[in-house]
Amino acid sequence: MTTIDTTDTNDMPPQDPNAVSITINGRTVAARKGDLIIAAADSVDEYIPRFCYHPRMSSVGMCRQCMVEVEGPRGPMMVVSCMTPVADGQVVRTDTPQVKRAQEGMIELLLANHPLDCPVCDKGGECPLQDQAFSHGAGESRFVEEKRHYEKPIAISDLVFLDRERCILCDRCTRFADEVAGDPLISFTQRGNNTQVMTFPDEPFASYFSGNTVQICPVGALTASPYRFKARPWDLEQRESTCTTCSVGCRTVVQSSRDELLRYQGVDSDPVNWGWLCDKGRFNFQSTNSDDRLSSPQIKSGDSFAASSWSDALESVARVIRHSREGSVAILGGARGTNEDAFMWGALADAAGITMRDAQLDDGLPASVFSYPQATIDSACAGGTVILLAPDIKEELPVLYLRLRDAVQKKRIRLIEISSHETGLTKYAWKSIRAESGTAASAIPALMAQADISTQLASGPVVVVAGRPNLAESASHTMDAIAAVVAVAPSATVLPVLRRGNVRGALSLGLAPRNDNDAATILEASAKGNVDCLILLGADPLSDVADVDLARRGIAGAKFVVAIDTFLTASASHADVVLPAAAYGEKDGTTMNLEGRVTSVVQKITPHGTSRADWMIAVELLTLLGHESNFTTLSDIQNAISAAVPGFGSTTTAVAIKRDGVVVSVTPPSSAPTATSVAAPRNSYEFRLDLSRKLFDRAIGTITSPSLENLATEANVFIHPLDLDRVGAAEGTNVRVSNSHSSIVLPVRASSSIPRGTAWVPFNQIGADVRELVRRNESIIDVRIESM
């Protein structure tokens, strides 16, 4: 969009100096200065054909399809409507014979080299080229010569295939990769008739956002492996929903055929995802279709499980809860479910006197982070300063990374990143400051007092994007760091970036820890034999709790373990009763994203086997435990939520189901702030352990999605190149990483993204498990690295 010049004088209505009135096909259209003709036409449903124009990307005028006629001083002239801004009094015609001739000519040119293999093309039926050839084409071609031929399709990444014959060179995918994703790994190569989109030789299009290029491709040139030859668009049924892979809550449309999930597409929600999805969120629906899903309740007999009926399984769980000592039942998890799931489990816990509950697994932040004035994604991206005290946003909340990156690129905000190693946002940061784990809070006062930083902070709003940067570092360090920033910038708002899909909803609707009994405390109590019944509500402590020793002792110490899950996870396999849960796409409800935005999630397919939504299981148990329950449908629960949760108000699905949802203001019960932890001085171990997540790891939803399961990498320990020399190990060789708790062997890699003295290990990759070295009662973890 062009810059808006507010000094221009004309006879506008005085209330809006940027208002412009133009005429399109005789209709008067209100627009704003800087709008493009094509956007103004869209606003009144005057459709102008287009291929390259995309409202979320800059215009390039590449395909020339959107030619229209504009009245000029020397009569009508043809302009490209995606490159021409509106002007007051402009007269635009989109349907004259001349325009039609130009548009038909463009279609004929674009089709000259197009193979017209629509019958075998996945795009057929939803193809802008096919559709517009019918609606705006001449219907026949004069091109009788041999068309271009290329080897096809070629894999440009693990997920995306390119058919160069079908490509019309609209520049959408390459523009997306460069402008939106910041991964310019594909580019136009060659020239003239040979121009083609290509990667660098042997450097695949390994972007976390590659699936978006498939969605925005206006022809069948880019296809994604999970959907290739799976269905025809006219066989797909779809419902609009919200992705719950992470807590950004991107709007999606869930598409299925014959009761099988087949594809997710991004939907443009202005305050959230702008139509984009990350590849994990786009493709991990495959796990819902996995053959490894739990299909019936399982009761452990001896060392193995036996399938059981729901009534037997639920009765055995109810019996255990009834006979448990007072205060010895615990619920871990719930962040994977819907708001309704969380509310019903919270209600069950309240009714049954279950005080031990936590929706997080000691891998987030205490609910007190919600006590700060809260920011939204839009408010963080609107202007001012954003301070990152967070994990690598690109790895954990990829679409939030797109939004923040966009705000930086458009010079709306400045990022100040305080992190223990370089992240995906480092190169976009105004200041990127390395602070060793455990030292950020104490470094912040001096940092914020620097002249340029304090001037910047005073220049506009300040938003703190706060999450758990290092799983081997106590959450209290991050809470202290947030407090330190707020002490300097008292009007700062906080955008909590806790990772799990509905963690904020679960904490807000009844599954926040009571009386400081967080997950770690619960597992500790369990290890001591004080938990008679441990309910894992879609939680897998053995895979997710950073202190794996604590998780093991906790699970082993529980007298009876109930796992409610979609898969037989590491923890579920230790359970006494396993109840199959309905997965994403198999249940209706609402979810809450990291801003507190409530949107709908929908059921598209029948739940696998006899699996049930979590809320139904809670309702059944409530009845079995002898409590009166009036909940039979989802709307009963939604009404109860509106009545019971202050701040939720009338946000029922009727409101939330709208695309952009509603931001509610619910502050979960917050635990007392954890005691301030001063960074422990270095002991004899010379490396500080930095344990953080990458987008693709061995998480159950990823490894059960065939297209994603190979994207996790081998576990490595990354250290600074000079540290590698000091350790005396060669790149890629095994080193011993040890501390007083344990010792593991990992290949070592040099990376200049890691400061000296820090050892970064990505979480949950293939190979040795660095969590063996983590103990949660130590607020930071130091290790020794020795060559072998």
Binding site: P184, L185, S187, T189, Q190, R191, F200, E203
Partner: protein
């Protein structure tokens, strides 16, 4: 030696310094890489990307637009015979056949000894002198098959090496403008005076 050598990295940094935006140096650096290795290697393109802040794919996209950049080894002497209209009418096809027979290779390939590469070129803007060809971008006009034989003999014998440097060397003598005489990286809008190299002469 695929990435730029230490000497060339120094030169590359100097070239980059002459542009307001580092990316603008991409093409000069591609020439530098081609001069170094005789063709542009993948490693050199990645290296150039690192130096100018572009991805390897972007450097490749730019480089592959231009005929003058080669991505596999070419001979010491690249013979481009023009095949466009005027030259075609004046016997370019015959010349090409003769060249193929003389060197024992097809158009578009390189002799086994790595000395000659034959290419068919589009118009070289010397239609009045058709048929024309270029050896490492040095013109030869109104070339007959006999003259082509003589040219190949001379090139083989090395008698033309002062006039025609090996492929990849754009200029036989590199022009090096000292920094203090260079215009430097100045945004066009800020230029108000004549460039220093005019040395007080009247502006154009």
């Amino acid at each position: 030696m695929a990435r730029l050598t230490e000497e060339n990295i120094r030169l590359a940094r100097e070239i980059i310094g002459r542009y307001p935006k580092a990316r603008s140096a991409t093409i000069p650096l591609l020439h530098l890489a081609q001069e170094q290795d005789g063709y542009v290697t993948n490693e050199a393109m990645s290296h150039i990307g690192e130096l100018v802040g572009a991805s390897s794919a972007e450097v490749f996209g730019t480089a592959s637009f231009y005929e003058m950049f080669k991505f596999e080894p070419v001979g010491k002497y690249l013979i481009n015979i023009c095949g466009t209209m005027s030259c075609a009418l004046m016997g370019a096809e015959e010349l090409m056949h003769h060249a193929e027979e003389r060197l024992g290779i097809k158009m578009g390939s390189t002799t086994a000894d790595g000395k000659f590469t034959l290419e068919r070129a589009e118009c070289q803007a010397a239609c009045t002198e058709a048929p024309c060809l270029q050896v490492n971008y040095r013109y030869r006009y109104r070339v007959t098959p006999d003259q082509l034989d003589t040219l190949i003999d001379d090139l083989s014998a090395g008698t033309l090496s002062s006039e025609i440097p090996a492929h990849g060397v754009v200029a036989s003598v590199r022009q090096h403008i000292p920094a203090e005489r260079g215009v430097g990286a100045v945004a066009p809008g800020l230029v108000t005076e004549n460039p220093v190299w005019l040395d007080g002469k009247a502006a154009l």
